[in-house]
Symmetry: C2
């Protein structure tokens, strides 16, 4: 069963019922609304913070136990058993994640950021933010990351935050008897949009422990509409997240959290290295940026190709999905366990304040197959959680910790694994693979430059990560701030800005950002902020074609029902005709969901008379409030008897009497601007000359898509 993609509607609907309701609203109710909205923001912050912490705790413990078990077997020279255990546990974890994703919530696979982005643009694809998606996202992400895939938990956290916000913003649920009166104020798309933006920001804040970065991410990448008030609200939410995380980590410092030692919440404190740089370094940074932009756009290109291939496989059903996941899991295990054998054993440096090789805990200097007193540098990267690997790459304590060949192998492996991993039926973020690949690439360049450069190799790794992020995701300010908050080194700011500017500029020459690509690939009708050039040459009248389905002010029930059943349109113009007005005139626009509620009540009149006051008495404005996605009435729920088909119903009270209109000669570009800036769902096109029908067409989101 294919669910159609529907749009959200941010227009203020002005019909008699709502106007009456607005007039009766008192100060106290406005206060309730404001109070509740802040409370919800607080709850979103709290819950997202908790989930983020839980996520990390679970991953660190599961993955930690797995790695410990493996390395213990290796210490006893049982290499095959170790591999079997390692690969076996990975496959089991991967299968768990895949089963969850394939059977319970297919929408939970992937990063989730493109979907959230599309939702905040006004596209409501089926069950993207449903509770089932939320649950699968949380647990699927835990299993997926613990299974050692080259994927991150950051993208899923954003999606999780958005799901939490959506759940809280439902405005109660009739099914579960949660119909608290206050909550009903949130039964509209505008408030939900605000809350979900907060949720996305909270997700980033929880994933990276970067509250300001979270706000900026929501602003730069996620949200399509932005107001100053929202800035403050997201700031509040992310502050809550920061506080929650800080307290919980403080609690864990006491040793109550198992293997959650340093905190999987990546926070790479490289503060120790002060960035001194000279002209050579600047040239190197620009070079890294340019090459990173190239590699990043290539990454996007390949991810797109792989996604299209996987889409074919995934369409074959859940078992095909699970099989694919198992294959990739085995591939990943083989790489992670096999490649370190290529590396030579390196004698431990003597001037260390930590033990070397590392035994019985996570960290640098993995022993692997080496004799005691030696470590395997490639294993330190592969047989660690991704967070630890990043920390190792960013660290600046030992400049020569990793061989050149090691960095090269790791970079190549991660770059390819990252590409083939995204798209399998597991919640998978893109940040971590990109950072890993970028950091190894940056460190590699730093090592190659050797003593020509004065900048530390750890800082080169950060620069490399930034260049890759800029090249794939194409964000600027938010990435800059997130990286600063991650690495806790403000003096890096100029270099980070430089490298981000260069890599984004280079990459933008080739293709779009990875999230935009995925949005497009999934066929989500995303409205760009600017109008396409071709739109300048078309007029609004050219685009809307085909017979328009309209109703008259007092319409026969049968006609309405027929229209609702025969079409999937969600908006119908209402035209008043001579008995009720002198000439045909546009009365307004009525939406499908309102029609359904009206018809459900079965209050019809025998004759074509205006019976609006009756409706005003029977209904309350809340009855027409917009339910959460997938929750409203459907045509099948109606129960209209045969004899009622010939009766009439007055549509005036539920008709939005002031829809936004454009004249048919307006260029499509200008109409698109109106449509996009105001977040409309339907835009009426009226004729230029009088004497014709009062409305010539209706524009929806689909009409603004280039492929249309």
């Amino acid at each position: 069963k294919v669910y159609p993609i529907e749009s959200l509607d941010y227009e203020i609907i002005e019909n008699e019922l709502f106007k009456q309701d607005w007039r009766s609203r008192k100060k106290i109710q406005i206060f309730q609304y404001i109070f509740l909205k802040w409370t919800l923001s607080l709850l979103i912050g709290l819950l997202t913070g908790l989930v983020g912490f839980f996520n990390n705790l679970a991953v660190e413990n599961i993955a930690g136990l797995k790695l410990l078990y493996t390395s213990n077997l290796m210490l006893n020279d049982r290499y095959f058993a170790a591999f079997a255990a390692f690969a076996g546990m990975n496959v089991i974890l991967a299968t768990c994640a895949a089963v969850l994703c394939a059977f319970f919530a297919p929408a939970a696979a992937g990063s989730g950021i493109p979907e959230v982005k599309a939702y905040l643009n006004g596209v409501d694809a089926h069950s993207i933010l449903a509770p089932s998606t939320l649950l699968v996202k949380i647990f699927g992400s835990i299993f997926g990351v613990a299974a050692g895939f080259v994927l991150g938990k950051e993208g899923p956290m954003v999606h999780t935050g958005a799901c939490i916000a959506n759940l809280l913003g439902q405005g109660g649920s009739r099914k579960y008897r949660m119909t608290w009166k206050w909550l009903r104020y949130f039964k509209n798309d505008r408030d939900r949009r605000d809350l979900i933006t907060c949720g996305a920001a909270a997700g980033v804040a929880a994933a990276f422990r970067a509250p300001v970065g979270g706000v900026l991410f929501a602003l730069e990448e996620a949200a399509s509409w932005w107001r100053s008030a929202l800035l403050w609200r997201t700031f509040f939410t992310t502050a809550v997240v920061a506080v929650v995380l800080r307290s919980l980590i403080q609690f864990c410092r006491g040793g109550h959290c198992g293997l959650f030692g340093q905190g999987g919440l990546i926070m790479f404190d490289v503060n120790s290295a002060v960035p001194y740089y000279n002209a050579v370094d600047l040239v190197a940074v620009i070079f890294i940026g340019a090459l990173g932009g190239l590699l990043g756009s290539l990454y996007n290109f390949l991810v797109d190709k792989v996604l299209r291939t996987y889409a074919v496989i995934n369409e074959r059903g859940p078992y095909a999905k699970i099989l694919l996941v198992i294959c990739i899991s085995l591939l990943t295990s083989c790489c992670a366990y096999g490649l370190p054998w290529l590396a030579q054993c390196i004698p431990c440096p003597t001037d260390l304040d930590q033990r070397c090789p590392t035994i019985g805990r996570s960290g640098n200097y993995k022993n692997f197959q080496c004799p005691s007193g030696h470590y395997n540098d490639l294993a330190s990267l592969f047989l660690n959680t991704n967070d630890d690997a990043i920390r190792n790459l960013f660290s600046s304590t030992n400049k020569n910790e990793f061989h050149l060949s090691t960095l090269l192998i790791f970079f190549a492996a991660i770059y390819s694994l990252g590409i083939v991993t995204y798209g399998i039926a597991v919640p998978s973020g893109l940040f971590i693979p990109v950072i890993l690949a970028g950091a190894s690439y940056g460190r590699l360049v730093g090592r190659l430059l050797g003593s020509i450069a004065t900048l530390d190799v750890g800082l080169f790794a950060i620069i490399g990560a930034a260049s890759f992020l800029g090249g794939t995701m194409r964000m600027t300010v938010s990435l800059c701030v997130i990286l600063l908050e991650l690495t806790n080194d403000l003096l890096m700011l100029p270099l980070l800005m430089l490298v981000l500017l260069v890599s984004k500029t280079v990459a933008d020459c080739f293709n779009k950002g990875v999230y935009d690509q995925i949005v497009r690939m999934k066929g989500l009708p995303y409205l760009e902020a600017h109008a396409e050039p071709y739109m300048r040459h078309l007029s609004a009248g050219d685009v809307c074609s085909g017979p328009l389905i309209t109703f008259s002010g007092v319409e026969k029930v049968g006609n309405i029902l027929h229209a609702l059943q025969m079409t999937r349109h969600n908006g119908f113009p209402v035209v008043d005709e001579p008995p009720f007005s002198d000439a045909p005139e546009l009365c307004g626009l009525v939406s499908r969901s309102h029609l359904l509620v009206l018809l459900k009540a079965n209050k019809f009149t025998k004759n074509r008379t205006i019976s609006g006051s009756e409706v005003l008495r029977t209904f309350h404005a809340y009855d027409f409030a917009k339910a959460g996605s997938g929750k409203g009435l459907k045509v099948e729920d109606l129960d209209v008897k045969e004899e009622e088909m010939e009766m009439f119903v007055d549509l005036h009270p539920i008709t939005n009497t002031s829809p936004y209109t454009v004249v048919e000669t307006m260029s499509l570009a200008k109409a698109a601007l109106l449509f996009r800036e105001l977040g409309l769902r339907h835009l009426c096109v009226v004729p230029k000359t009088s004497g014709r029908s009062p409305i010539v067409g209706i524009l929806t989101r689909h009409d603004f898509m280039p492929e249309h």
Copy 2:
């Protein structure tokens, strides 16, 4: 002569001429446009960075010489001569600044941020961004700051950045023969808006050396319309500023810049103090936030009162303005020189690595009247540049450097002086006074808490400054980032977020942010992002009243001229009437500036015939491009002969045929949303029922103002 406040217009005007022009535009021209826009952004960054540096260099040297001379006189016990010299030099500098402001560019007085904010909202007050304003702003700000007033150079820097951007975005100038073809693409309000946003961001970046903070400031406080593309452009501009400043300061490290020792570009490196805090500290921080919010809103209230008083004085003419400046200058000098006598001499701490007392250079531990080996702590705050005073307050090397009574006196003096200083005819920023007052208040609380708190007093000073900034300016994210970049201490982030949230919340209960207040006080018609509640109860038709002045498609020249002379309206609906159409119908909207260009050419026809193609041949689209503010044609420039009055002119080619329209029954709130989101200047109101005149009214910015 009173100049009316006019609005800017961001609507895409679609008339035949422009459409033709658009159709003829080629790829290469689009490339030229993009290339030039980035070049201009680069230039804005470069110039703003240079000006910012020059500003600091001049201030540090002038003020430094002044203070050195004064302290040398004091060392010789010539106290009265010292005071005379100090006050005399202050008055001279102040008078210079005031003369510049009063005679050459009255618009340069004050902070400038409110004006830039209003401009970016679409309000074009006379000569706000003119070149004369730019020059006076730069030099007036230097003299003003050097004169020792309690005011900052940060607000003026924002205004300066915006002026530079405006100058570059003029699209050439016919007067100075700078009519390069490429530049003409920028002759419209939309591109100017983008550039000026970049300018404002560059100004903040140059003032605080905070590139990311600059972007966020432009986003949160300055800009009313925001697109993702703009984020990137401002980011680029501020990155350029950062690079320029860094290189110049590097150059100054070599000692080529006179007294520009530590760099007046405030950059309070308090990185040394790691913020450890316990529950008591948190409570203290919340308390500081709440009280800071109260004091901040009181500050706003008092500033508003004082401004209203000063407005009366300033209206008396330039001499009254200068007199007021001299009075305030004397008052400031008396405070700065007189109050330190109240403080006791403190023996120098022994464990210092700098000399104490400081002689012959700027810095801590001023000697003042004390015997050698002692310092006067109040003089260390008062007889220093404001930047140095802030650095002293933020410093955490010597916890007991300042006495309680010193901090209290300083706080009270700065709080009052800051209030009475803003509003005099000198370019004056609000950031520095607020930070000074806030920092002394925070340090005071920190000292009072003594050993109960574990947080350092220097960090308390930062918290206090944040609370004051939050309480007066009501920004959140941008202040947070600016403070982080200023103090270079990312670990303060959670505390800063907390204190900003608390103080803003508290202060918002009482009044609006200081910039909003000033915008309102100046009578600039600022459009809020959200509609006022009363607008819900009015319809668009209710608001537009009075006889509408319309033209018909081919109109008599005399009528047009009469309308242009008799009214100041800038938009006139064009209605086609029966000879040219079946029934009267709305053809579109024509703007005053286009009419003037058309009439200036004196191409009229004897009869009422359509002669549009003639117009299309005579004119080029660029002829109608919008000139910079105050530069277009005026009615007086027209030269229409008596016999031409009875002739006709075809308005069709210059009529915008697709203006945005709303139906008269639409609520004003909904119309305001359309008006605001699309940045319109005129909004046509059309009738609901047919058979009436095709347009019932026109809404402009003034109609959405509450006082209207």
